[in-house]
Structure formats: structure tokens, C-alpha cells
Amino acid sequence: MTRADVSTQELAERAHRARESVLAMGATEHGAHVGGSLSAVDILTVLYGSELRVRPEEPHWAGRDWFVLSKGHASAALYAVLSEHGYFPPEECLEYGRRHSRLAGHPLRKVPGVEFPTGSLGHGLSLACGVALAMARTGRSNRVFVLLGDGELQEGSNWEAIMSASQYGLDNLTAVVDRNGWQISGRTEDSVALEPLADRWRSFGWSVVETDGHDLEALRAVFGALPAERGRPTVVLAGTLKGRGVPIFEDNRKSHYVQLTPRLHERALAGLRARRRNQR
């Protein structure tokens, strides 16, 4: 199956498996950032499943599109999706956080498919800008994608990067905001409000596309139509649910970081599978 041909049904199966894998990582010794990983799974699945020009067996292939996980704490989602797409065996995800594993709580460059170590918020967009600028200045057609958390946008360094990307007219750069509405202490809007978020990006010179971050068809359509405007970077504001797919974690700040006991793991998995059955 070629990447363009992959059915949305198949992507949905991969996303489901990735969610199971995220829960398995949440059940390891140290737990995981489950809520923000589950909100990002569909975006990552569409990117790796049908949009990014990559060769998982050759992660440093010169012609690849670059992906930067700026919200590095969603590493469980990244590992689940990378392994689902052949970067390393899915079983390795069970090594998450374990001594001597490659799979740290925040991604390291030694993991196949990881371009930059991230985790401290507000770094990824500048890194992505630099890569996109290098591609543009050297006449290469590689594209660059970066996934940001919404709470992360409170870091001022993002806005330095946002200003510079539009200044350089980087239409090979796409930022995706996982807009799940939560940060550790509560709703983003009750902390330091981000809205009107679309207007803010637009006023900084970006092309803004708003979409449902769990609608695989919609995400495919949005990514398939990039850049949204010639000469401008695009931001995809993807409306998501924290903990998406697992009823006990959905839209709930307590799912931010979870160490699943065997009993809770079982309950979470049952909820996820029931939801999946109903959707089929």
C-alpha cells in the first residue's frame, strides 16, 4: 500500500493501536503524560500515515520531511506512532522510561525518527524555523512540521519564532497546535488565556486553518492542501480532547500525567475498546 493510498479506515486502526500503546506506556513503572498524548495521536497518525515524505527504514534520508515534537511530554504518542510506522518495533514501547531504554519521558535524538531532543517547552518552533529556512535558502523541497501544545504557547519564545517564520515567508513550515484546552493547573483560558488564538496567529502573518484534530479525513484534507497560502507559514489549529478515546480520561486535567495501576489500565483499555467498537 502506498502512503497516499492508505485508507482512512486503516489510519483509524493504527490510531487505535497507538492509543493502546500509549496506555501501555502509562502503565509502566514511571507512568506517562497520557492525556496530552491521547489528544495528539490522530494528528501524528495522519502525519506519519499519509502526509510526511519519510523512509522509516532510513530515518536520516536527505529527502525527508522533518517532524519536531515541540510538546515533548507527548513522547508516548510519538513512540507509539513511530513504532506503528516501522521506525522501531512496537514492543520496544514497553521499555518506556525503563533503565537503559532509548525511550525517555521526553524524546532523545537517539530514537529513530526524532530530529531534536525536546521537552522544555517553547523550543520546537524555533528549531523547525531553522530547518525550514535552511531548506528554503538551499533550494531543497523538504517540508517541516512541528506539533505544539496549546498551553505551550504561553512560552514567549514561541512568539519570537512565529514572528520570524512569517518574516522569512516559510511556506514549507507547518505548525500544528494540539488545542485540547488544558494545562496542568486547569483550563488554558483560566490560566493565561490564548484566545483569540486564530486571530493572534493571523496577525503575526501566518495562514490559519482550523480543524477537528480527531477527524482523520479532515486532517488529511488540511495537510493535503498545504501550504494554505504561498509565501506564508501555515498553522493548523486542531481542536482536540485531552485523553481522547478513553472515557475516564477525556477532557480531564487529571489525565495530564498518569501512572496506571493494572486495574486502572484494564479499565482504561476496556473503555477505549468499547468506544472503538461503537465507532466501527
Binding site: P117, H123, G130, V131, L133, A134, N142, S157, A161, S164
Partner: protein
Amino acid sequence: MTAAEERLVTAGASWAALYTGAAREACRHTLLELARTDPRIFCVDSDMGGFEDGFAAELPSQYVNVGIAEANLFGVSAGLAAAGLVPFAHTMSAFATTRACEQLKLDVAGSALPVRVVATHGGLSAGHYGPSHHAVQDLAILRTMPLLTVLVPADAGEAALAMRAAAYHPGPVYVRLGRKATPRIYREPYDFTIGASVRLADGDDVTVVATGPLPVHYALAARDVLAAGGFSVRVVNMHTIKPLDRSALVSAARDTAGIVTVEDHLVVGGLGGAVSEVVTSEQPCRVRRVGIEDRYLDSVGDERELLEESGVTVDRIVREARVLLGAAPAGSRT
């Protein structure tokens, strides 16, 4: 002609131009020379001024100005480096090491990407600007970054050599520069090697190890004073703070009565701290540290005046050397 001289002459640089004036001018000149022959070399500026008319006008496709945004400066530079380019990121040392410290730590040093940080206004070279622009704890911070190479050239010519060495070094490099012209230390070019200190004067009574333009200049002046008193003083220009030239320190500790360190940096955590760490474990000797006192410096003055107020003077070096020599403060050996 030495290999170093040949490289510079080949690049079209004139010695007279390189060896007088401010180090940052020599570096601008050198960067343009390097970039003309290597399209991977980029100048990434942060509204510092000085590159618009030369570099940006001649090589616009290799010039980027991120504006007044130091965090983005390092992030963008790391991205450029990851994509195969060789960015020279230009800012002031205070902003590089404190404002954008985390980007330097994680995105540049932590990823071992070949970013070259060109940081001006090191030490008290922007003295009259006030404490916002003093960089007197930068070396202490930089020393804690495991994969980073840290260079502190002693004059304009050495700065040019350091830039060339940095350009083709495999990992990240930090080049600390001053602001205005400082005295010429080197009369002729030499084969600058990262990590290999330079013995500017031979001697076996006591050693003075200095880093940075005025500290090295003062160290040489102190040597003259001590020599007039009959002492034989070894002077070492420690132009690389990381990796430190351990063998030069071990031989100084073994061959002479002790080491005086001199730096335009706080007396904690910089050259004096680094030298003490090496000799205490490898070849114990006494170390007297000349540097900026551990206090917040908010008086107005130029570089020399503030160094003097902070305790970095020729007299102070002489005094500390005499302590190591066991000599009376005002007397001489004869």
C-alpha cells in the same frame, strides 16, 4: 609562511588589518572571507549591527537576522545546523549565556550541533553600559555545558584565527570577544589549535595563566615588573577554556612555585576555578586567583576602570605572584 598565515593570506586578509583594531571587526572580516568560499556558512544575527553593510549586502542568501530575540537566535541556528549548514550566531555574551542559556544548553550544546556562537561584549568590555551588559559569569555557565568548546581569544589576530578554527570544528563552539580595540598580543600569526594554550613567556619561578584580551595584556606587563625584580615568570595564554589544556597546567604546577590566574570574570567558576580543579587533582600547587570580586558591580566606568575597581590590575597580579614566590611585597630578590 606558516600554515596559519597561508590560510589567512589565501583568504585575502591582510595582517595589518587583522592585527589592529577590535577583535569583533577582525571576526566580521574573517566570517565574510570564510562565507565567500563556503556557502554553508551563515551569519545569523540578532540585530547586533555591523553585518548589514558587509556580509548582508554581499551574501544576502547566507545572512539571517532574527531580530532582538536571542532564544530564537539559538533555536533557528540549531535548526540550520541540523539541516547541514554552518551558522555563526551573533549576540552579546550576557544574552547568550543568561537570557538564552536554555537554548544554548539544550538546542546547541546538548544536541552537539555545529553552531558557532560569536559573543561580543565579554567580561567588562561594555563597562559603561552597566550590569545588564556585563558578562562576568559567562565562563562559569559555559564551563558546565559538556559538549561545548569555549574560546577566548586574546587579541584581534587571535580572534580571526579562532574563527577559522571554529568554522571547521565538528561540534558547537563559543567564541567570546570584547568590544573595543585591545592591545596587540601577537606580533605574527601562529598555528592556533583549539585546546592548546600558548606560552607567551618562558620562566620557572612562577606561572601566570590568563584568559581574555586585557588579562593577557596585564599578565605580560606583570611579568615585566617581576622580571625587573629578578624573577623568571612563565605566562600562558589560556585561549581555550573548554577543553582546558591540562598538561600546560600540570607542568606549570610542577616546574614553578605556583599559578596566578587572571580573568575578566568573577573569581568563582571561571578560569581560576577551572585551573584549581585541574591542579588539585593532578599536580597540587598554590593557585592565587585574580578576577572580579564576588559582588554586583553597578558603578560606571570603562573596561579598564571597572577592572581596576574589581581588583584586576597589573599590581594585583604582581602582588599575588610575590605571595607565591615568598617574596616581600615591595622588595625584590636582589
